[in-house]
Symmetry: C2
C-alpha cells in the first residue's frame, strides 16, 4: 500500500502535475509536496530536479507561477517541489513571516520549541527522497537541486553537504550566508541556539570555507531585489567561490525583483543548466 | 493626469507585467486589470490581445498561471487581462460562485439589483479600450481577443458583435451557448430577466444564427473537463459554424481538464494563432 495520498493530479504539457501528502516521520506532521512527471515510456526512469521554495511559500507557489512544466516536459525532467516547513495547529509557530511555519530554513532544529517538528534537513535529505524513489519513475542516480531565496540557501547547503547525490545546483536570489544577514541570525539563532559554530553546517559560504566542494553553481539575481543588500549578499559567495576556485556563474539581472516574475523569466535557463548535467 | 493608478509593476521576460486600477464610469466601482507590455522600441505601437477570465477569477489568475509572458514577449503582443465583474461591499452579490461578483458574464445587466453596476459588456467594449489606447503603447487597429470558460463566452460574443475591432478570436473551454446550459440560464435570467429574446445578443450560437460573422475561430477543449457535457457543449458551436461556413478549429485534448494547467499547456498555440492574424 502506498504511503502517498493523492491531493490532486492534472494533466499538463503531456505529463501530470500532481500534489501529494504523506505522514512524515521526521516532522511528525502530514507533509504536502508537488511532483511534475513528464510523459515517458513505460519503465523509463527520469532525472529528478528538486526545487526548494522561499519564505512564506508552500509547494504551490512555484507550481502555480514557476512556469517550469513546458521545458521540463521537453527535457524529460521530474520536478519535485516540497513545502518549506511542517504546518498545523499542533506545530509551533511564530507570528513573523520569517520564523516558524513557512520558514523552516532547511535545518534540523535543536532548540525548543522547534526541535520536535522542524527537521526539514532530514526531511529533504533522507525521508522524501526515499519516498520519491519508491513512488515515482525517478532515476535517483541523476538528481539536481535548485531553489529561491531561503530555498536557494537550502539547495546550496544541501548540495554542498551531499556532493555524491547531486550532479547540479543552481539558485534564484539565494541567501548565501545566514551567518551574515538578519534573516539568518533570527532563524538559525531560533532553531539552533546562540552558538554560531553550529550554524556553519547551514551556511553556504561557511561550508565552502570549511572544505565542502561542488562542481559549479549558477545563480540569477535581480538588481531591483529589495533584499539584495541586507539579506542576500551574493558577493560573499563570489568571494568564497574564488578562494577555492569553484566556478560560479552569477547573472545580475537589471531591473528584476525578488518575485516569481523573475523566477519564471529565468526558469528555462536553469532547467537547461540542470539537464546538461543530469 | 493619468486616470490610472499603478497597483504593481514587475519586470518579466524583458517587459513589464503591470496591475492597474481606475474609477470606472460604467460599473461605478474601482476596476483592476493586468497589462503585460513587452520590451519595445520608443514610439512603437504593439498589437493588443485581450484575455477574458472565467467564473470566480480576477485579473490575477491568468497573470499568475497562464504562462503567456515568454511567448508574448517574443511575439511582441500586449496582453490585457480585465477583472470578471465589479466588486466591493457596495456592489450587489450572490452567495453562489456563478452569479454576482466574479461572474459578470460580460453582459450589460438590465434587471435589478444588477443593472447599476454589472455593465461588463460596455466596460470591455468601450470604456477599457479607450483607457488602454491612451495609457499604453497599443496599436488599436490590431486587436485580438480570447478567454476561458465564461471568458471564452465573453471573447466569442464580443468578437461577433464587433467584427471590425477584432482580427482574431479564440477560446479555451468556452460556454458557447448560455441559452442552452444551466450557468447561462441562471446568469442571463438574473442579469437580463426571463425574456429569452434579450439573451440572444449574449449567446455565441444565437449570434451566428442571427447573422453575426467572424473570419475563423480556434478552440481548445479538454475531454476530462467536468463541465463539458452539461455547460460547455462545443458541438453546438460546431453545428452553428457549419450552418454558415465559419471555419472552426476545435481541438479536443485527451485527458485535459478545466484548469489553468490546461490553459497554460495550449497558451502558446493560441498566442501564435493571434499573432498570425494581427
Amino acid at each position: 500500500m502506498s504511503a502517498l495520498k493523492t491531493v490532486s493530479e492534472n494533466k499538463a504539457f503531456g505529463g501530470v502535475q500532481g500534489v501529494y501528502s504523506h505522514a512524515s516521520a521526521e516532522t511528525k506532521t502530514e507533509m504536502t509536496f508537488a511532483v511534475f512527471v513528464p510523459e515517458h515510456e513505460d519503465g523509463a526512469r527520469l532525472p529528478v530536479l528538486w526545487y526548494l521554495s522561499g519564505l512564506t511559500c508552500t509547494h504551490a507557489n512555484v507550481m502555480d507561477k514557476g512556469e517550469y512544466r513546458r521545458l521540463a516536459s521537453e527535457l524529460g525532467l521530474i520536478i519535485i517541489c516540497p513545502d518549506t516547513s511542517p504546518r498545523g495547529d499542533a506545530v509551533p509557530d511564530d507570528d513573523a513571516y520569517d520564523m516558524g511555519q513557512g520558514a523552516g530554513f532547511y535545518v534540523d532544529a535543536t532548540a525548543e520549541p522547534w526541535a520536535a517538528n522542524f527537521r526539514m534537513r532530514s526531511y529533504i535529505e533522507r525521508e522524501l527522497p526515499a519516498l520519491v524513489a519508491n513512488e515515482f519513475p525517478a532515476d535517483m542516480k541523476r538528481q539536481g537541486i535548485f531553489g529561491h531565496s531561503m530555498g536557494g540557501h537550502g539547495a546550496l547547503t544541501i548540495a554542498l553537504r551531499n556532493p555524491g547525490r547531486f550532479k547540479s545546483v543552481s539558485a534564484f536570489a539565494p541567501i548565501v550566508s545566514p551567518i551574515n544577514c538578519p534573516w539568518g541570525h533570527k532563524a538559525l539563532g531560533g532553531y539552533l541556539g546562540a552558538d554560531q559554530s553550529t550554524w556553519r553546517d547551514y551556511d553556504t559560504c561557511a561550508l565552502i570555507d570549511d572544505g565542502a566542494r561542488i562542481s559549479d553553481i549558477l545563480i540569477d539575481q535581480g538588481t531591483a531585489d529589495q533584499f539584495l543588500e541586507e539579506q542576500l549578499k551574493p558577493n560573499l559567495l563570489v568571494a568564497a567561490c574564488e578562494r577555492v576556485a569553484i566556478p560560479l556563474t552569477l547573472n545580475m539581472r537589471e531591473g528584476y525583483d525578488h518575485s516569481y516574475f523573475t523566477i519564471s523569466t529565468f526558469m528555462d535557463d536553469h532547467l537547461r543548466w540542470h539537464a546538461e548535467r543530469l
